[in-house]
Subunit: 202 residues, 2 copies
Amino acid sequence: MVKQERALRTRQALIRAGAELFAREGFVAASLSTISGEAGVSNGALHFHFENKRALARAVEDEALARLRRITAESLERDGRALPALVDATYELVDRIAEDVVVRAGFGLGDDPGRGEAASLRREWRYWVEDSVRRAERDGWLARGVPAADAVTAVVAATVGFEVLGGEDEAWLSRDRVTGFWRLLLPRLTDRHALVIAVSGR
Amino acid sequence: MVKQERALRTRQALIRAGAELFAREGFVAASLSTISGEAGVSNGALHFHFENKRALARAVEDEALARLRRITAESLERDGRALPALVDATYELVDRIAEDVVVRAGFGLGDDPGRGEAASLRREWRYWVEDSVRRAERDGWLARGVPAADAVTAVVAATVGFEVLGGEDEAWLSRDRVTGFWRLLLPRLTDRHALVIAVSGR
């Protein structure tokens, strides 16, 4: 039991150290011995947990995906209505990308040409935005004449932009920037003024 | 003269082959001998033009930057007014990212963690959007109560999102997507209905 716990803790330390290095240097340049060194474990321990760098990157991505799903689930728990939950999730998302290197690396790995795998976090996020907008439309929250597809396009493109621009300049991951975006978009997207005012007050 | 012309053509072929490989495999994984092979020149010829991979990447970025500046300059020539020119430039930008590997690689190199240099294309684009929005505001094209900073945030974030998402799925670089974004945003941004209608008709 104690041994299992230690193994779990080692695994988590490797995922964290891997995320740090993938985010900083990219998949190809990141060296496994640097990662095991930063996690404070031996190369052997790393290879006990992960067959190769690809497997470690997949574990980072899986962990990031689990955290992203927690963000969207918690936003829905806080406010069961689709559009307020979507707005809430965008704030939580930029917070987490700024603070949590696993989430940040998870998004970055999807974009890493040296790795050559599909961007699973962005895809998951896009599906969730699509689903939220469709539910908002069904529930009568979208203003008349606003195509749901346009709302999805704007929200997905802008949030991915925040994520990528935040890699160079943290200001893009601030609540102010997200508020600026919603302050502009929301009055066009919905007639529910309470939501518009709530965002403006953030 | 003929010799100079040939040297110039070789340089351009290397920039193009470098862009192809950087876009496909990333900076770290791209091999100089593959690049010279794809350009149809010897390794010696590559090293005559570019001291190392870093210098070649900088040349790709410089060429992409020159093409980006041509896009924005031409949009301003077509329509001297800041907001129509901005809208026009976003269409041209996604077209060029889709069609021109040098422009695409130039943007991608800025985001490549293995290279570790600042993202000069995104910065240039952001400056131009800022400048355009400020001029639009000064000329009375921004709707009352719309902060110019919010407009910059939304346009920069969304266009960078299009660029990045386009790397995984070309549909994000289609005129339809760009129209979807503007159709949603423009009626909030400006009272000039002619511009709104012109975009909807694209």
